[in-house]
Symmetry: C2
Subunit: 104 residues, 2 copies
């Protein structure tokens, strides 16, 4: 069993989104991304049979990649096959938790 306190990973980088790999097994990968205002996770997709779940922990931004931008704020959870384009643009500091299953 592993226990994480997400307070411990509230780190940011001016250069690029801060990225921390929390958990990695063949079944599940869990990542935390933290964005400064204006930083983004570029729209991307993967040719794999996996799902990705994107949970906003803090901050405000927009989910990109779909036919229209979707407001991203705390408590918004987006889930999709990784084959669907997905991304995020931060308007404030944003904390994002990502689950990928199975791991790519």
């Amino acid at each position: 069993m592993k226990v994480f306190n997400l307070q411990d990973t509230a780190k940011y980088s001016k250069d690029r989104p801060y990225r921390e790999l929390l958990f990695d097994s063949p079944n599940l990968r869990v990542l935390n991304f933290n964005f400064e205002p204006g930083q983004e996770l570029p729209v991307h997709s993967h040719p794999s049979d996996s799902e990705v779940a994107l949970l906003i922990l803090e901050g405000e931004g927009v989910f990109t990649g779909g036919p229209e931008e979707i407001p991203a704020r705390p408590g918004i959870l987006q889930i999709m096959p990784v084959t669907e384009p997905h991304g995020l643009k931060a308007q404030t500091r944003v904390r994002l938790l990502v689950f990928i299953a199975p791991t790519l």
Copy 2:
């Protein structure tokens, strides 16, 4: 793509923990449990090769099932194979998000 607003599932039941299945595919199941004070997810395990991630969204309680109880509060994320006993006791109202990969 599916988008959930976890504000919409902030529901509780006096009889038993409120449970809502948010997403279900062979790769990933996502559930939201909401507990009244004193309600619990009994310690349990499954004989499957899957991982479970338990994220506290709101409230205070304790994770049970391990050799010692672990404080459960917002931002605490527990990840383990589903073969390891896991459970939760709520002290206040607690909101829990559960990811199971792959689905049992």
